[in-house]
């Protein structure tokens, strides 16, 4: 009986692992399959050029790639320290009741739909940004970046916190006995022990930021130009997919949707590879 259960468990877990693996393979397969005609078709690699103007037969989506990276990185640059700050606040820097409140807040934030952020920001943040930046229409890189940082914050913070909880519990007494303040215990004992976790949270946050559709679609302005300033209206790959997906499915513009999808996947692979090498070098050092 007991042997059986062990084997059943092994098989079940193995099978679920297999499902996950197959799903990833399928997603990559399908998207590349659908993107392929774009490259083999008439226009070839022109899709990877810098100008998007379907009226003149120009279908370059590189500005969108740049915009995606810009928005995601700025959201990460803002959101990651905030998430870290919240976690540290919860796990020791702030009085316990405040920490508990913040944790509840974070949990609640995960339930905030992105469309809500977008919806509210149009009416609240966009006018502020328009006046504050003094240029542009308020639909901009900066606006989308700000809201996105808020969107990815709870996910990152909760992932960090999941790792920090146990570690903090285990090290609290030792740290105290060694003369560390609660803050020092966190910064010098707990955070380094959770380094892997913090990086994973960053990768996850970046993934969510670059993958979000509605926020940039509603707030970034969607102008297909190269990003050059915070007040620029820019179009991310995801927004591009959302905007162009409804076009004539025979058009070259339509094909760019799948190329955009593939580019997003490639960015994703790159990030993961970087993360891995970062972790590996960290381990040997």
């Amino acid at each position: 009986m007991r042997f059986d259960r062990n084997r059943i468990a092994d098989v079940t877990f193995g099978a679920s692992a297999l499902v996950t693996g197959l799903a990833v393979a399928a997603i990559f397969g399908f998207l590349f399959l659908f993107a392929l005609p774009v490259f083999t078709g008439g226009q070839g690699l022109s899709i990877l050029s810098g100008v998007w103007n379907p009226g003149r037969g120009q279908f370059g989506i590189l500005p969108m790639l740049a915009a995606s990276l810009c928005v995601a990185l700025s959201a990460l640059a803002l959101g990651w320290p905030l998430a870290l700050g919240l976690c540290c606040g919860i796990r020791g820097f702030l009085p316990r009741p405040v920490g508990r409140l913040l944790l509840m807040l974070l949990r609640g934030m995960t339930a905030f739909p992105t469309v809500v952020y977008g919806f509210a920001a149009i009416f609240l943040l966009v006018p502020i940004m328009r006046e504050g930046l003094g240029r542009g229409s308020g639909l901009s890189w900066a606006t989308a970046g700000l809201v996105l940082s808020l969107v990815i914050l709870p996910t990152m913070a909760l992932v960090m916190d999941a790792g920090m909880r146990q570690t903090e519990r285990r090290l609290r007494l030792t740290g105290a006995a060694l003369g560390f303040t609660r803050e020092q215990t966190l910064t010098h004992l707990v955070l380094p022990a959770c380094r892997k976790n913090l990086l994973a949270a960053a990768a996850l946050g970046f993934g969510r930021a670059i993958g979000d559709t509605l926020i940039p679609l509603m707030l970034a302005g969607n102008a297909p130009q190269w990003p050059s300033a915070a007040w620029d209206s820019i179009r991310t790959l995801t927004a591009h997919i959302g905007l162009v997906l409804a076009t004539d499915s025979n058009s070259a513009a339509y094909g760019s949707v799948f190329v955009a999808g593939c580019l997003l996947l490639l960015v994703n692979v790159t990030v993961q590879l970087c993360l891995r090498s970062l972790l590996r070098t960290g381990e040997t050092a």
Binding site: G55, L217, D232, V244, L245
Partner: protein, 253 residues
């Protein structure tokens, strides 16, 4: 009554495509399902392109477009079109903007990025922010063809994904210029006269306002069963009344 045609029938009608059509589709579906709940009708948006693709692939029975089908599309999927309404497209600006009249040439220059400040048009000293619609929009296609005459749109123009988003953006941005279907115009935005024509559905109906487009329902092959009944219903006088109430001008079959 026209609804009698649905008595005792069963079936599903899935509709997708142009967003401008939805109010009409929704009201018609509501009336039909109220007399006969056995007919299930679902209505999705997605835009004209989605309408063509989904009806062509057989995912829905009716695909709506805010533009005429290209010959490619007709040939590829064997689609049949039913134009049922006319919608006007009007340039809109922020209500606080002092400019009340524009010409097509001015609009063309504005969108090309040659005119960048409202003071060049007699307004106050404020930079113009451009808003345009997405590639899949039927509204954009009419606007580009009839007002811009295929002229360029500056790459820095903001692209908004829907009529509602256009309205929200223009209503909030004092320097904005954009365009929407006439049915969407309300007090939050202002529609200046265009080459002296006042944009309104009456003028569009009587031909004095010429920047218009037709709204189409498309089916794969000739429609049959409840789908045919649905399309027929839209063309009845009751259907025409619904179309008018939604802010469009009905067209006879």
């Amino acid at each position: 009554a026209p609804l009698d045609a649905f008595k005792g029938k069963q079936g599903t009608v899935d509709i997708a495509g142009g967003t401008a059509h939805i109010p009409v589709m929704k009201e018609a579906a509501k009336r039909i399902m109220t007399v006969n709940p056995d007919i299930r009708i679902s209505i999705a948006g997605g835009g004209s392109g989605v309408g063509v693709q989904q009806v062509g692939e057989g995912l829905v029975q009716i695909g709506n477009t805010g533009r005429a089908l290209s010959s490619d599309e007709v040939a590829k999927y064997g689609l049949v079109s039913f134009a049922f309404a006319i919608d006007g497209v009007a340039v809109v600006i922020n209500p606080a903007n002092g400019v009340n009249a524009l010409t097509a040439a001015q609009v063309k220059d504005i969108y090309a990025g040659k005119i960048t400040n409202w003071k060049e048009l007699g307004g106050e000293d404020r930079a113009i922010s451009l808003y345009t619609r997405d590639e899949a929009s039927g509204t954009r296609e009419v606007f580009a063809k009839k007002l811009l005459a295929k002229g360029d749109v500056a790459p820095s123009a903001n692209v908004v994904p829907s009529n509602g988003a256009m309205k929200t953006a223009v209503a909030q941005d004092p320097g904005a210029i954009g365009y929407v279907g006439i049915g969407h115009i309300d007090s939050t935005v202002k529609a200046p006269t265009m080459d002296g024509m006042t944009p309104s559905q009456e003028n569009a109906a009587n031909g004095t306002y010429t920047i218009t487009r037709k709204l189409y329902m498309n089916t794969k092959g000739e429609p049959a069963g409840v789908v045919k009944d649905f399309i027929d219903y839209v063309f009845t006088p009751e259907g025409a009344e619904i179309i008018r109430a939604s802010g469009y001008i009905p067209v006879a079959k």
